[in-house]
Structures are given as structure tokens and as C-alpha cells.
């Protein structure tokens, strides 16, 4: 039991030096189908109670090799998309002044844009490894440019991305047109579809990712709908035919030697979850990401 911080980590004000800050953004005003991701941060925290200090899969104790804290939530205005983006960016910048790395629990995927702005301010253009059923490189939706389907197009337009290092993993499901893929490729993204995963396996995916990002600073963005709805029912735009949680975790376990600068896990919508299946998967995803960030000897 105890306070509902992520993995029972200390709160940010309880420690002096911070290596990794976990924060939440309870915001879902930019979704196009099922809302509810505003309750994602508290649900994922509540679902993280069983996480323990040693990660045998990566053979590392992620919380002792680095100071990890729960930094609470960044409040974002639910009624004005642009103001919300500014608030998330400010909140992220503030945290990045105190913590070397930031792991954010969404919230919907629109928060990736202001997070990338904050990342860019520190690291310059970053390679994005994007796990998702969807490309999220659409242009606008209902006239809005900052929705959960558009963050990576905006990010690329703003020069936040090192496009040579970006790729999507787990893409599947219907699109508006074949142009979606062409435009996405033009933005610089490579794609590893969910179907390809069957052919190349998790090891093949890791190789594809490593070959793509190389030594670049890497930002990992995980839309939980990259998992099949069986593994992540609690999300906003589910698509059949996704990854298993075992596959996703295994891929992330291969990230220890990447130059990770930050990450987000978004689109957990608890009203559609049951038995914390989605929340637990998301908390394990975050745990593997933090483990991969931990320094090795």
C-alpha cells in the first residue's frame, strides 16, 4: 500500500538530485474517438504497485543505479489545445532542469509534441522510436493541428526530429488513403508493421531500431494501442491485430545501449480497462524504459 506514486517511488520534493523524473499529464482533449486518458496517470500509478526494485530481464536495479522520482502531474487546460500544449512544454522544461531524463504518463498522444519541444531545447533534434498502431502523422482533424493524430507531423515541421533516426513500430489497421504512407515516409519515418513482426521477430525489430537510431539521442513514444486490444483494452482507438505485451517488453529490453533522452507512454484510458490489464502493461513498459536508462558499470 502506501502513497500512490509510480512504483512507490519518492516524490520529487523528497530528494535532492534527480536522474529520472516520472510525471503524468492528465489530459485527453485531443482525442478523436474514446476519451478517458485523462485518468491514465492515476490508473498507471495505481497499477504499478507490484513493481519491485530488481529487473532480472535487464539485470539491473533501475531505482538504485539512478535516482528516480515521481514528479506528480502537469496540469493542462482541457478546453484550449494550444494553451494545454504550452503548459505541458513549460512543465516538461521545468522538470528537465531538475532531472536528466523525463518519462511521461499520458494523457493522449497530443502531449508528445510539447514534450518533444522540451526535449529539443535540451538535446536538439532527436530520433523518435514510436510504438503505435497509428502513424500519428496526419495533418489536421476538424481543423485542429494539435490532436492525438498529428504530433509527429508537427514535430517534424518544427525541426524537432532527426528524421533519419525515426521509425514507427507496430503500425496496422486501415488508413484514409495510400497517401498517408507516402506522406509519412516523406516526413522521414520508417515503418515496421505489426505483420512484419511475425516475420522478423522481436530480435529483428530490435535490429531494425538500432540500425535506424544509431548513436542519436532517442526519444521513445509508446502509444499503448500498439498492443492488441486483448492486451490493452483500455485505450481510445483500439485496432485488432497488435503486439503482445511480451513482444513489446522484449523489444524495450533491448534498448539499454541506446542514448535514451526521454519517453512517454500514452493513451491509457481506464474506463475501458478491466482488472488493470492495460494499466499493468503500461507500468511494465515504463519500468523497462527506466531500466534501459539506468547506467551500467
Amino acid at each position: 500500500m502506501g502513497p500512490a506514486t509510480f512504483a512507490r517511488l519518492p516524490q520529487i520534493d523528497e530528494v535532492s538530485d534527480v536522474d529520472v523524473a516520472v510525471t503524468g499529464v492528465p489530459y485527453d482533449s485531443a482525442v478523436t474517438y474514446r476519451p478517458g486518458a485523462r485518468f491514465g496517470p492515476s490508473h498507471v500509478r495505481e497499477s504499478s504497485r507490484l513493481l519491485r526494485p530488481y529487473n532480472p530481464a535487464q539485470d539491473v536495479s533501475p531505482f538504485s543505479r539512478q535516482q528516480v522520482v515521481d514528479a506528480g502531474d502537469i496540469v493542462a487546460n482541457p478546453f484550449f489545445l494550444d494553451e494545454a500544449a504550452a503548459q505541458v512544454e513549460t512543465g516538461a522544461r521545468d522538470l528537465l532542469e531538475r532531472a536528466g531524463r523525463l518519462v511521461t504518463i499520458g494523457g493522449d498522444h497530443a502531449i508528445a509534441l510539447p514534450l518533444l519541444r522540451a526535449m529539443h531545447a535540451q538535446h536538439g533534434p532527436v530520433a523518435v522510436v514510436h510504438f503505435d498502431a497509428h502513424l500519428d502523422t496526419w495533418d489536421t482533424y476538424f481543423g485542429a493541428r494539435n490532436t492525438h493524430g498529428t504530433p509527429f507531423r508537427r514535430a517534424q515541421e518544427e525541426g524537432l526530429l532527426d528524421a533519419e533516426g525515426c521509425l514507427h513500430v507496430g503500425i496496422r489497421g486501415p488508413l484514409y488513403s495510400g497517401q498517408d504512407l507516402i506522406q509519412d515516409a516523406a516526413l522521414g519515418f520508417q515503418v515496421v508493421t505489426s505483420d512484419e513482426l511475425d516475420d522478423i521477430g522481436t530480435k529483428g525489430v530490435i535490429e531494425r531500431i538500432r540500425a535506424r537510431v544509431e548513436e542519436r539521442p532517442v526519444y521513445v513514444s509508446v502509444d499503448i494501442d500498439v498492443l492488441d486490444p486483448a492486451f490493452a483494452p483500455g485505450t481510445g482507438t483500439p485496432e485488432a491485430g497488435g503486439m503482445t505485451s511480451r513482444e513489446l517488453l522484449r523489444v524495450l529490453r533491448g534498448f539499454a545501449d541506446l542514448a535514451l533522452v526521454g519517453a512517454d507512454v500514452v493513451e491509457v484510458s481506464p474506463a475501458y480497462d478491466h482488472a488493470q490489464v492495460t494499466g499493468i502493461a503500461a507500468s511494465h513498459v515504463i519500468y523497462e524504459l527506466i531500466s534501459a536508462m539506468a547506467p551500467r558499470d
Copy 2:
């Protein structure tokens, strides 16, 4: 089975003359707690399949004494509150040109403001009988003036209401301060709290309403959270201690001799519903309202 119109009514394009149009507004961008009312219209329609043509409680056949149709949904931009309000108002005005009365399935309570604008354009100031756990006369929220907590303050400011005829029924639960009630009264609203209902009964409530609205044109706005969470779990801002559905339906059955000009039933959030308990309650509420609108000999 058959097409999922409300109560299996014909679609608006299948008939020539229309007395009452039922429409949906799948919009929930103005909520402050649990979202999901965007799926309210389809859920209430799906939950209305068991409604039949004769209403013994009011001794009227609501669909044969007047032409009632399902007019489909009014699309509202989920990302810009003001544009959404304009779209709802336009959609409602268009329908009111074809139908004498409009019954709207929300969506969140913010849609009441544009609906009242459309009502006012036809009828001038209207008396509002407002069933809700909450006053919904707050001023702003996160700087936004058109949220689901503010429609009746805006409506009063715009002169849409005949304040002498307005009252809230079912109010309960904590407020920000005692000023909330004072400001609400200053706007002209009377209040029948949920507790008072215990003392005066449903007949007493009907009398209070009749004494208040008298001969005025009446708009009925039902936030489904006026019901106790046991009767309406599927809603966004539930408050314990509410009305039973038997009480609410019985009050509405006393409205046959009011000058009803329109109504809405809002804040049905299906992700929190189970076994269609909330959806069925909402569909019966609409059925009683349409029955009350039916002409008698």
C-alpha cells in the same frame, strides 16, 4: 432489431411533416471530470429498443398523436468550444424550421446553451426546468466560459431565460462556496434540493414546478446525474444521494399541461454504464417528455 433510431422511430427524411424531432449531439469536450458523453446518443438510442407506442402512465400514444422522428446527430467540433456551440445552434435552428419541438440527446451539458439560443430565436425567453445534481451556473472553468458547468449562467446573461420561471430540481452535493447559491439565486433560479424531495414527494415537486413556470414556454433540461449513481452510474460527475428513476419519471408525467417547447437529456456516459441501466433510464425520460408534449383531445 432494426435500425438504431430512437424508439425505432422513422428517420427525419422518411416523413414529410414533423412535430417532434429527436436529435443527438455526440460532443463531450466541455466536461470537467469523466468524459464519454460523446457516445451518449448512440447508447441511448440502443437502449430505447424496448419502448412501445402506448404510454399508460400518461394515457397517451405519443407517436401517433404527433409525428415524432429521429433526426440523426448534429456534428460539433470536438476541439474548439465556440465553434461547437455555433454548430449546435445552427443544427438546432435548422431542425426547428422543420419540427415544432426538439428533444436533444447529449453530449455534455454545454450543449444546453446553443440549444437555448435556438429556442429563444423561436420563442423568446423560456422558463427552464432543470433537473441536475449541480447548479450549472458557474462562471468559468479553466478560463472557459462555455463548459458543462456554466450553460445557465451564460443563458441568463444573454437574456435567453425567463428567470421568473426557472428552477433547479435535484440539487445536492458540495459546492465551491456558499456564494454559489447566492449567485444562482441572483440569476433568478429557485432550487428544489434532493433532500426536499423526501419531504414534499413527487407531487410536491410537480406543484413547485407548476407554480414556478405557470403559462410560460418551458424548456426541460435533464442532466442524468440528477439520478442517484445507483440509477445512473453512466455519467460524468456523479453525486451520491440523488433521485430514483421512479421519482424522476413520475415528476415528468405531471408535465402534460405545461407549454413544453423543447428538452434535452444530457451527460449519459456509456463507458461507465452497465447493463444499459443509465441508457434505459435516459430513454424513458425522453419517452415521458415526448408523451407530455403530445396533444390531448
Copy 3:
């Protein structure tokens, strides 16, 4: 824990003399909306584990004043309505040769007809006290004469009922036409609507029932949808505005001096239940009925 008999009662083969037999009919082929009542018997038994031997509300120990057993289930053919009816009648007649009284857990309401046939064979015409949202005196449905909406019309046509002693309690919701009520009255039924309950209270309902049935042999048929969906979400044709379980139980507690010959509790559909709310209500209804059957000094 222990074997899943109703209220942990002995199985019928474990005792020699039987006063009251509880049986299940896992049959739902005659429903018109949500199916699932075939799982009613096992769900109600599972939900009856907390029942204990002494009933303070009736000041009686129902299981020590009379031998009550669980007689298991009567199997009915799910594919042929008439064969199913014959099987239920045969099963009930067999049990009535061993047990003075029979309490049946449905299954859908169509089973009331063969049960009344078996009752009539022993007792002649019986008074039926029928708790339900619906009249269940419709004529046919899809050409079928033995559905869950028709048992009491068939029973009356067959002379199974002492119509002077019959009444419905809890009726509410829309009908096909005003003729439904007229035809129902012509069959001899009185009606206490759900709305009337507000006016006369549970004591008034008991008086109405007593005045109606007098000294006649009484069969009690409880469609669990007489309860509001908040109290019985797990049922097939829910109607808003029903009785509370406290009201229903209190009415039944007034039956100790009626000449009860049998009872059924039908239409519990577990797939729509949650937290056993409906199952527990049904098990308490049965417990009060068995308590009312118990001899007093």
C-alpha cells in the same frame, strides 16, 4: 463454501420427507429481448450462500419449521417450445408428488405456464400474485403462443387461474396499445402499478393483495424485472422506474398468512448482472417466500 445448492440446503436425495422443494429451470428460449436466464438457477444458487437459518423479519426459521431441499434442475429442450413446456410440467408434477410446495428459479417467464398446469393438477384454479414490470398477458409473439410475454393469458384460457384472485404488482412502462390493459382486465387481473406504490406504500400493497386473494390457494410469480434496473440489472427486459428490493421484500414478508401453494422467481440473466446484485436480490426474494410458507405455531 460447500456444494452450490440453494442456501446450502440438502439435495433432495439426501432426505426422506420434503415440505418445500427448490428447483431450477435453466431455460430461456422464449425471451423476446436479452437472453441469458438459462444461467439464472446456478447464479441465484451461487448468490444465496450468505442466507442464514433465522429470518428476523418474519420471526421464523424457515428451514427448521419445514423440510426444504434443493431438487436440482429440470431440463427443458431449448429448441422446441412445446416440448420444453411438457418437460417442465412433468418435472414439476414429479416434484409435487414428493414435496408439498415447489419454488422454482427461472429461466424465463414462459415456464410459469407449465408450472401453473402442475399446480392446477393439485390445487385446482389458483390465485396468482404476479410481480412484474410487464403484464405477460399478450397473445402471441412471432406466432408463438408460449413465450415469456404470454403465460398468464394461456393459463387463464386453460382455466388454471382463479381470476377473481389474480393481480399484477409493479406494472409500468410502455405498452403496445391501451387495449393491452383492457384485455388484461378482461382476463380478470387487477393491477397495482409501480406509481401507485408511491401512494399506498408497501402496507397498502399488502392490503390490496390480501383483499384480492383472500383464502384462495395462492401462487406467487416474481419476474425480477419488477425491481428497478438499479436493483436488478441482470434481467432481460428492464424497465426504468421499478420497485426497490426493500419494498419487494417487505411486501413478501406480509404473506405468512396467505395460502401459498408455490412460487417462481424468473428472468435473472447473469450476463447483465454485476457484483451479484440481481442474484442476491432474487435469493432474498426466494428466502422470504419460503419463510412465508413456513408453518407458525
Copy 4:
């Protein structure tokens, strides 16, 4: 939002020429365990809102290369199995006069027999590719010959099948006896069990299917319980150890060069679904089947 047609397709009366008609059969009177598939068509339609026009997995725009419509539901008598079968057959024949191909959303699997009768009337004997946990070639159940466990035996007896081209995919779970498999083989069916899938992979399954059906006219019948209960909890007779939705979709993506004449997706039972997991899987299955039907250049 908008009207709840499959994939927001036009209704059949809104277009003149039809290539593929999607219809629903809200019928579940022939099930042996959990009912509820009568609500399958509306649930699958509701779950298909996220489908979009371009299918990258098959590189085709299924709705622009052919005219696809939603033809509404075929009503079938829930109380008489044979009359229901006749109604489904008549409904299917009528639609096949207007549409080249028919894709049916069940309903339970008993509807496959009348659908195959209608197919046979147009195409003569067809090869059936049958995805299911169960053989569905039992003889009778409770004396009934047309249940959800018997359609393919009846179809073979009636000469509707080109047995040389038939096979089951995904079979698993206990049987009544070893004779079940022997009799099934005698009817001409080949079997690819769920376990074999592990060995030969989705590509191996596609090869097995192609080698079996060759150039024959092919009818695809998908019982959603071919998926593991994790991927399709909302079904009537779930068996552990099934396919993943990724596997099933991938197999279907290999059907573009088969001579598809029709398909059904049956046994979706929404009361047991959660978060639309089953409904979404079923809607994607239909989408892949319609995509495979689309003409290529």
C-alpha cells in the same frame, strides 16, 4: 459518429448498383451454451466506426474498388428454428439478386446453413473455409437438426458443399468422442488445428487453404470463437488456446486471389464482451474479407 451502418457504409437503398452487401442476422435461438449473439450485428456495426477506406495490409481501397453497402438486418423468427432458416435463406436470396456477394454478421452459426443454401442456388457447390474452435458437423442436439453445432453436416448432406475444397481452421478443445473427427473427415473436411498453427505459421495455413480450395468458389465462415477467449471473450462457447487476432487477420489477407463468393462472421455475443474487444476483432475480420473480395487491376 453518424448512422450505425457497418464501417459507415451507405444503406442499400441509397445506391443503385451493389457489389457487396453486408447484412446482419440478429438470431441466436440455436445456441447450446451462452446466448446473446442476437445482438451481434448491432455490436459489430457499432465497433466498426474506426474502419477507414484504405487497407494497407492488402494495398487496396475496398470500398472504392467495389460498391459495398449495409443492407440492414434479416429478421428471423426466434421461436421456430425451421421458419428462421427459411427466412434467412429468403433474405439472403433476395440480397444476392441485388448484390454479387454477401457478407453476413451473425447471429449464431446455425445461420450458415440457409446462407449456404442461398449460395448454392447461385454458385452450385462451394468450398467452405471454416474458421472455428469447433467442427460444427455434429448430427443433432436435443433432437434438433439445425443448431449452431450442425450446419456443415446438414450442408454436406444437402449437397451444398464441394467437399473436396472444404477445411476447418483453428479446431481445438474436447470432443464427445474420437468418432467426431472420423465422421467429420468422412464428410470431406480437412482440419488445421490450433496447435498445428504453431508449427506451420500463418503462411503455412494460407498454403494449406489455397491447396485445398484451388479455383473453386469459396465461402468463408468465421466463428469468432476461433480466436482465443483473450481476443474474443464475447462469444458463446469459448475454448482456451485459440488464434490471436493478428494471426487470423494475416491469414485472411492472403485470400485476395481466392474466388470468394460470400462470407459470414458469427457468434459475437456482446454481453460477454468488454471494451468492444470482440466487436473490433470481428469488424476487422469483415474488413479484411471485403478487401480480399475487391477487384485488383
Copy 5:
């Protein structure tokens, strides 16, 4: 959003002087049926987010008239009942040294005994107003003397209670024997049954309570199963026929002039809750209790 303290109150270490401390006891090892109340404290806190500062029903601002804090949880050993009791008592005594009054969120009802020990240490014998479906004055269960069915017998034996001032409210449901009531009365408890509530109303209940407790120091213990399962599905030993949340809240609103020294709200079991119906009811119960504790001018 923000930290998940009860009603977003400050944590105990953030303030200097404390009038009322809210604490949780995540312990359910003493239950006899459904476990899960160990998650009650976090669930009730999560369900309390909508509580606001002003309580119109009591016309008081409970958090500004007195310093109220969230004191976090008291950890109790899940494996040894006696050690757990000692831990709860120690934790409560520690808090009572800092806070004048303690409001505890259970956890199961066994925690009432150590809480009463701590109360007694400060106030001497207290009057207990006990809302519950069950008497909780059984002697032992499975040989254990400190279970959730025995706290008030133990408390009386230890002299913790001023028996002249004790009463149960909401009692209903079957007992083991008529002796249960006789023994309970011998311990000094009066009983207001759920049925009596129908006759005397909430005002009558308040009068009964006031007449019983008079000027004595009062401890209020609310087992959430005093509510009907419709209003509190998320509990361990539900009994049909209970209070509505409106009735319970109204009774509590009459406690402002009682000499309240502490309170608990127990037996909230989230795994059986849905849409936070039980959690919200419990959070409102606590809110009314804290409001009643607030000093008036």
C-alpha cells in the same frame, strides 16, 4: 487531478495543527465472504476527487472551520489478526495525539475494535452509532475472536462502550438464530431495522439516535453494506433491502450537534464496485461526517 489524498486535502506532514485526521487501513484479513476491502482506502480517496469545500446540506465549510488532513495509511499485518489489531491501535493512538478526531477508511470491520480501544484511551466509554446490515456482535468465527463480525461484542466485553448509548441502524437479513438478537440486546444495543426506516423516515431515525446517544461522546461506525447493494455493490457481504444513499446521507446530516469523537467507514471492496458507485457513496458519507464534526459559530 493532483495527489490522491482524500478530497485533495493536505497530507498530515504539510500542516502543523490538525483537528481531524483521515486515515486508511488497507486490511481485509478478517472477512468471512468476499475479500478486497484492503483496496478500500485508495478507492475511496480516488472517488473523493469531486468533493468541494462547501457543504450546503449542513451549511458549513468543513475544511475551513477545522484543519482536516489526510494522514495516509496505517499498515496492518495481513497474516496475524492480533498483530494487525495492535498495529491499528498504535497507529490510531499516534494520530489521536496529533489530531483531535480520527476518521478511518477501512478495511474490514474488524478494525473497529482497535479503533475503539484508541478512542477509549482518550474519551473513556463511547456511544457507538453503528450503521450496518449486520449486528457484528457475533462471538467467534472459525475460532477467531477478532473478525469483521465480532468487533462490537469484543468492545463491549472490554468496557470500551457506553452501552446505554449504543444502537445499530439499518439491520436486516437472515441471522443464525433468534438468539443473535437476544444476545445483541443483552450487550446493550438498540436496533433500528431497515424495515423500520420505511415507517419512521430519516427524521425518525435521527430522533431515535439522538434520544439514544444524548450528550455522550459518540463514535460513528458505518459499514457501507448498510446501503442496498444497488447503492453499494462494492462490498463484502451484501444484503438486499438496504438504505438508499440519500437516506444515509440525510441521517448523517443530523449529527452536527452530537459529540462526535471519531468515525469509520468500512467494507468498501472495489473489485465489486463499478463506476465508483460505492466509492462515491463512501466518500460522501465521510464528507458528511467531517462536516458534522465542524464547529459552528
Copy 6:
């Protein structure tokens, strides 16, 4: 339908000779996170209704090649861990006098220790094949030595295990420290992690198991959380990234030539299950284990 024994098997008192007895232990007082496994036995039995007599995967009729019965439940004191252990051991010893083999449905994993004591009394040290996400070889928890996380350490200390033949399968998730693995290995256990399964496949796992247990008497202990939460949401300490039910069943199908002496399937917690997904998986696991125990010609 019929009596709720496992797979509709006869009760133990209905037959004279018994080869395999299936028993339940409705006990969950030794869990550290989500309780509820006390309802596991009735839930798994209810979920086993679809099991049929012939197992094609193993080509055996498990109930005709050996007499299998349902022996009902062993009652264990929920309040005293040691007394409960003694009761389970006694119950198991009694059954082993009548039945050659025992298959136990938990209950939580703490019951494995007394079951192994009973096994040891008959067979001497046994090889344990342990499917689980967790090692369950911790030392103490809250000072208790017999919890659901400690049975195999205790068993080894007591000499109940033939450590040369023991291994864990499916291990994954965070640990307290790297020492956990070292101590576990020191106890004699080998580990096949969930990740390794991806590399060696189900056939590789079977080979690893066979090579380990050789001709030793084998006890199989299946914690249902070895499955991924998608396949077994209804459990107490879920960990993302687990086995699929297809994998687990396939491994068990390779056990026919092992010297199986007993088995348990534990940690099914129905309150977190939906649509019986977990219950069905557990019932199939038991079915495969009993099939593997059946003698071949």
C-alpha cells in the same frame, strides 16, 4: 446444466474406486496483493461445463481410461495460516487414501506446501514442475513463513522436493533483488523464463522439462498468473508479458509420459475475471493434466 462439479464429473461418494480426485481449496488468506482466490474452485467448476469426454490433442478419453471424480472442497480456516495448512494436508491425505492422484483447484499458492507434504507422505521427494510468473521461493512476508510467495522454499527445507528434478517455467517480472535468483538456484530450481519461451518454443520447453524431471515422480503446480493478464485477468498478482493459453496447454499436452503424481491450479480470482476467460483457461489446464495422467494402452 446439472450439478456444478468439475466437468460434470460424478461426486466422490457416487463411485467406489477412484483414480483421480479433483478437489477445491477455497482459501486465500495468504495472498499479498489482490485476494479473491477463495472463490476460485466454484468459478473454475462453473467454467468447466463445456469440457467434453474426448481430448483430441492427446488422443485420449481422460474420464473413461480412469475414474475421475469431484471430491468437493477442503475447508481451511481463513484466520490462522498454520491451522489452514494442517487442514489442507489432512484433507489431501484423506483423499489420497481413496484416490491415486489428486488435482487441486486453489485457492492461493500457499496450499501447495501442505499438498506437497501429503504427496511426500506417499511418494517421498517429488520433482516439481512449477508454472508461474513468480519464483514463490521467498523466505517470509510480514513475518509469515507460509504465504503464497513462500511454499517452495518451505517445501525444499522440509525435504519434500527432489530438487534435482525441479524447475520453474514462465518466470518474469521484477524481483526484490538479484539475490532472489541466486537463492532460488541454491534451492535447486532451474528456470525457464517467459522470454526464453520465445526462443525455444513450446517444444523446447517440453524438452527442458523432460530432461529435468526424467523418471522422477512429478508434481505439477500451475499458478494461473503464468499466463499473460490478457489470458488470465482474474488473478491476484498479474505480471505483463506472460504465456498464452495456447502455449501453456501445448506444453502440458507433452506430459503424458511423465510420472505425474498430482497437480494444482491456483490463484484464480473471479472478481477480476470477465466472461470466464480465466476460469475457462484454468479448466482446460486441469483437463490437460488429467488427460496426461490417463493410462495409455
